[in-house]
Symmetry: C2
């Protein structure tokens, strides 16, 4: 059984997003039905809406940084009740049986996880639709609890930009006193700075844009390093315990690698394209490491949200109405947002 | 005080190696004076002799896979006595005070380790000379004990080719039952196959040359995978616990990365040049890792030699006389050797 709801999406690449009607399943026994309050705008939304990755199934309804309130729960759903504040991130299902799922790392599900949008939908035999919508129905195992004390609007981007930076910082055990570099100051990078600071690290913003220095410091960076300045790189050689590279396109790796300590790691979370070549000697001398990391699992996403509640951490955002989405996309592409757009879903309900 | 000894080396790039006389220090209180019996031929010898790395100081006397017998010991040297079988690898000194030296990882000495050849020599205020020579004087802290039971000629390459592959296999904890890929079957790769097999791993030789399959199996590979065959790569997707990439030049990384399990690592030990670009998505999906590794420290080199004594492991070699070195270099460059040349130093003494 389904119900028709309002959404915003597009029916083909190159077209602007427009109002749509979509079908949602009626909540099954383990489902939670969520009225969406806010939804963040991720660069992946744009890639999918425009079929940049050549895997879009139209109509596309983007949005995987979802904050809402529970309006109905299935008979067997135990974790949530009507009125609870909840979130939905990039995943709405996975196989739940493979080693990665068993390790709480559904984002590496070996049988393929189900994305919040543009994934096969086993319930309706169609494609999943995301959060640019008035409501969503999700299995409670993939629903997150949102702390009541933090700003809800700024919480939306935690579900993707937040967990994408939190997961590697925790997995590589960033701790008090570590010297941590965050490369790139955008939606991901600004969360990386906030988290690394809150974890007690000495945070160095690494950027090619001197104009970003002041903002980086106000977000929690203790130092700013201009990576195109050879002299500054030389001063930091072999000194970083960890570098998180959030730049969404291929970028020069050698200067960053040269600044890692022996056995230290630079983790790439942004550039889903061929990386720039780096020198083999750069990793051989010092046994250095380059790794990747993808969003995060449900368990660690909940841990991040709880941490954000305790430390009052949210994203810096700019609110928009649903009808402004196409202009917002253009500004995201120009990196003209500090640091994430969030859609007020009330604008879609009217 | 110095003594003049016979050596083979060259006085300029482009010139063939020829007989030279060089000065060695007379053994100081902590030194061991070693009569050299055998010396392996490493590709680095050629790079240095020919100034490929633009850091050669002539005359160059190459050689850092040295096997010999102790002929004199200093008054304070406690670990060796006259007649002991010993080895000298790539390092003859380091700062001994930095964190890496304190961790027994002199090869990552943060103040710069002293190479067996072509490094500044604090004793003679000149440049260190390597093992293409009748004898060498080395501080006992950088001398290795050679098991008496194994073939001495085949032991020489363990001091560089051996430890370069042993160190990453041990550091990344390769163990019984792991599926381990060894990329490239040369001086390094053939040792990687032997060690991974002896550690109990399921060893897959990964090569672009089908002609190497039989040799790889006789060395200990359980399977051979032709990496240019897309179908074979597909069969091994996400299945390797560890891959050791020994190819000495930049090589296609994406197929290897695609075969790593989640959280697994490919370690590069051969290519000291800009690596080929690989796809960011390849490491992000599966939290995979690329790392480098450089030879090994003194402690782990001794552990490797002891392991080789217990398991009767040596390199497969081809013996040459010192006078054949220039032809041998040409064959190394063409990868026309199974799998390492070793110089019988008796030929230099005559």
């Amino acid at each position: 059984m389904t119900t028709k709801i309002k959404a915003f999406g597009n029916k083909a690449a190159e077209a602007d997003l427009v109002p749509l009607q979509i079908e949602r399943r009626v909540a099954g026994p383990k489902d939670v039905n969520i009225e969406i309050l806010y939804c963040g705008v991720c660069h992946s939304d744009i890639h999918t809406a425009r079929n940049d990755w050549k895997n879009s199934v139209y109509p596309v309804v983007p949005g995987h940084e979802i904050i809402g309130r529970v309006v109905a729960v299935g008979s067997e759903a135990k974790n949530y009740k009507i009125g609870d504040l909840v979130g939905v991130g990039c995943l709405v299902d996975s196989c739940r049986t493979c080693p990665s799922c068993n390790d709480g790392l559904e984002q590496y599900c070996e049988n393929g996880w189900i994305g919040t949008y543009n994934s096969p939908d086993k319930h309706l035999d169609g494609t999943t639709y995301g959060g640019y919508s008035t409501s969503i129905v999700v299995d409670e195992s993939f629903v997150l609890r949102i702390p009541e004390n933090i700003d809800l609007k700024g919480t939306a981007p935690l579900l993707c930009a937040g967990i994408t930076t939190w997961s590697p910082l925790k997995h590589w055990n960033v701790k008090k006193g570590d010297k941590v570099g965050i490369v790139g100051l955008g939606g991901l990078g600004h969360m990386g700075v906030k988290f690394a600071n809150a974890l007690g690290a000495h945070v160095v913003m690494i950027t090619t844009s001197p104009s970003k220095a002041e903002d980086a410091k106000s977000l929690g960076a203790h130092e700013v390093l201009i990576s195109t300045n050879e002299g500054e790189v030389q001063k930091h050689l072999n000194s970083f315990d960890f570098i998180l590279n959030t730049v969404p396109v291929a970028n020069e790796m050698d200067p960053y690698i040269s600044m890692l300590k022996r056995d230290a790691t630079m983790v790439m979370v942004g550039a889903v394209e061929p990386l720039k070549p780096f020198h083999g000697g750069g990793i051989i001398l010092g046994r250095k490491r380059i790794a990747g990391s993808l969003i995060g699992g449900i368990k660690e996403t909940q841990e991040m949200l709880d941490f954000c509640g305790e430390h009052n951490i949210t994203s810096d955002i700019e609110m928009i109405n649903m009808q402004d989405i196409n202009q917002a996309y253009e500004r995201v592409i120009k990196a003209d947002v500090k640091y994430r757009f969030v859609i007020d879903m009330e604008s879609l309900k009217n």
